[in-house]
Subunit: 430 residues, 2 copies
């Protein structure tokens, strides 16, 4: 039976998961695919810490180039993260004629164009299923399963840490900061949580999905990005009372040459499938012009789930190598010209803290009306009465983002409005 | 640019959808994939009816063999259904060295082993993504995306007609027969609905999924199959009160060499993702030993959704043809031996119509206890009181199917129980 030799660089959580999966399921994979994936070498600066997986000592090295340059390795798995040394080793592996598998969304979103050009020049593959949606085979679904479709829109819950925090805030009726601290203690959030909670990780993943869907390289710079630090328990509870959940949503919308790419906290119907994606789970919702609405759901991160996607890429590349058809599937074909960044009209949720006196609603209504924003619901909570100020929740019909910005500025300037207005999008088309 | 010539046999709903998709999106596919899918011929006995798609008259023929035997066609799409002439034309196309794409689950579940052996002998591919889950790329997810996983279990809502009927019964508070008649009028159910409502179509799809997941050919004969004719509005409402929905569920469970394959109406938590799959939508829930829980959702049938899957197969086969790697991915590798058909313990819902007099609960409890079935909940509805008989709902903890059958027989024999006990499974592991 043919063998495909694999080297891993980065023996952290995911690296250990990949090694474990290869050791555990290689025989099953061999029976299914007709070739064997053989774990040949693992490089990490730390090769002494116990990773909970039994790897023969002689496979371990502290020198990444022992993997990238090795004559006996056909596929290199990059799992060190970051965009500096990770880039170096991927390029070096490619120069040595090896295909590469990576889970590094930041790297692809930032240097994808360069790396995939390198791979094309050398005739090798880069697998990146694990870069979006963890173990969910969503890249494969988008590139292959939905190949017949123009993609109309994509919604994604793509960051497990944010989804865990938002779910926990709702379930425990807790504030963002408390849940974040707790998540950091339990290993669900990094010591520096910015990459997750500020939406940057989601923006990288959004760039990868958009580049695949629309045939043009997008980077995180093209994605309007907001995180979840401004989502309060009050908002989660107000949304719940109106039948919504708040999720950090990657939003990709397309119509003709107009395209919108964003990452925003957004209200989605509590009864929708996306509204029921909880905890660390991820989901990618894709609507195509032929297939209609589809959704892909699973664990978005973690040792095992990510390993499942990495090994699926190894299988794909192994099939190509065994059949002499590397680069069978074009990676990031660029074919789109003249795409226009656009902000499509959407619905909005607005929470105001207003002075409890006559005439405020009229002033608010006048401002909204002046900007042509029509309200679908207004609710003022009685619970705050007697303290001189009350929360007021407005839900709008479809409105332009520009109109909403101007209206929000005017609302904020009213002396009867006591705090900065909170504005989130509502996405109903799920 | 390379061209791959496609012939379609069967110009019904799906055939028209495939033709439409090829005419509409071939350019987009060409930009993405580097080759063009060209619609070369369409065969149907009726080539005069308007299918709502503009196909040049010279492409149409009434002779299927003008497609199967044509020197200028590389891939044949079989969309006539059934297991007789469909089999003939697929075998004839294969004999002529052509790859085949089919949406025919009955054919694969019945003659798959023979057809895939034929294809292997001639070195051609058979694509069958559209055979399960309509437009959802669930076959690709299972074969490729989850290739690294031993599959622990699969739950599927695989028949759009049944799911539409069950959703409609719940929403409109209507009886099965009324909704079925309505569905037949609206084209959501066939004049002869047996294939759908008796679970046979779901059993075919279950056989395909199980064969792929476990490396052994299963047919519908291996699937314990119940349909939805016995699901009453009363059961749907009782289930709803306890936080459940009733779905026709394909159930595949595996542990070691033990395997259970079934199609049953089952209660699933209303708050689970599967519980929120409504109307004609389908979903496939797959749990792997590495990836954990995943789910794939979309339209399970219909002209467009099915066409999306058929054309995805055409793209896959086109990539193989353009890269000289036909049969790159082994189709149905057979590697499992000694699998033991098993019935795993599960939870049950039991609805009894009992005489409203003292001592009945004790008798029911005694029977359940004798068979070692422990109850998690008992509820007796007050509404029936005064008429001499009342409905009683029992929910059990995990129990064996054999014990449950014996207990049900004894319950039915009690003079205080006035109708045949209704028993459905409860699937909580979602």
């Amino acid at each position: 039976m043919k063998e495909i030799n694999v080297g891993i660089i980065g023996f952290g959580t995911v690296g250990a998961g990949v090694a474990d999966t290869l050791l555990k399921n290689s025989e099953l994979i061999a029976k299914r695919m007709g070739f064997r994936l053989v774990l040949k070498r693992i490089a990490d600066l730390d090769i002494t810490t116990d990773r909970g997986v039994q790897v023969p000592q002689e496979l371990l090295t502290t020198d990444a180039f022992q993997v990238t340059d090795a004559a006996d390795i056909q596929v290199v798995v990059e799992l060190i993260g970051g965009t500096t040394f990770a880039k170096t080793i991927i390029q070096r592996a490619i120069e040595h004629g090896k295909s590469v598998v990576t889970a590094n969304k930041a790297l692809i979103a930032t240097y994808g164009e360069e790396l995939f050009n390198d791979a094309a020049r050398k005739g090798v593959d880069i697998g990146f299923e694990a870069s979006v949606g963890g173990g969910i085979p969503c890249i494969k679904a988008l590139r292959e399963g939905l190949a017949a479709n123009h993609i109309n829109q994509i919604y994604g819950i793509l960051n497990g840490t944010c989804n865990y925090i938002l779910t926990k805030m709702e379930n425990d009726r807790a504030d963002f900061e408390d849940v974040l601290t707790d998540a950091q203690k339990n290993g669900y959030a990094e010591a520096n949580p910015a990459l997750d909670v500020d939406g940057i990780d989601t923006a990288h993943k959004t760039a990868v999905l958009a580049s695949l869907a629309y045939g043009k390289w997008f980077t995180a710079k093209d994605i309007t990005t907001e995180g979840i630090r401004d989502v309060t328990l009050t908002d989660i509870e107000c949304a719940a009372r109106m039948g919504y959940k708040i999720k950090l949503l990657a939003t990709i919308k397309s119509e003709g040459t107009a395209i919108e790419l964003g990452v925003h906290p957004a209200l989605v119907p509590a009864s929708s499938l996306l509204g029921n994606v909880s905890d660390v789970f991820n989901a990618v919702w894709v609507e195509g012009d032929v297939v209609g609405k589809t959704m892909y759901y699973g664990r978005g991160a973690g040792r095992q789930a990510t390993a499942s996607a990495v090994v699926a890429d190894l299988v794909d590349i192994g099939l190509n190598l065994c059949n002499g058809c590397s680069r069978r599937l074009p990676a990031f074909p660029c074919y789109s010209e003249g795409l226009q960044p656009t902000e499509f009209a959407t619905r909005f949720y607005i929470r105001l803290l207003v002075e409890d006196k006559p005439g405020v609603l009229a002033k608010v209504g006048t401002i909204m009306s002046r900007h042509n924003i029509s309200l679908s619901s207004v609710s003022q909570d009685e619970s705050g009465q007697g303290q001189g100020e009350v929360p007021m929740i407005l839900l709008t019909h479809q409105a332009s983002g520009d109109a909403m910005s101007l209206a929000t500025q005017e609302l904020a300037a009213l002396s009867e409005i006591h705090a900065t207005p909170v504005v989130f999008r509502i996405e109903n088309a799920l």
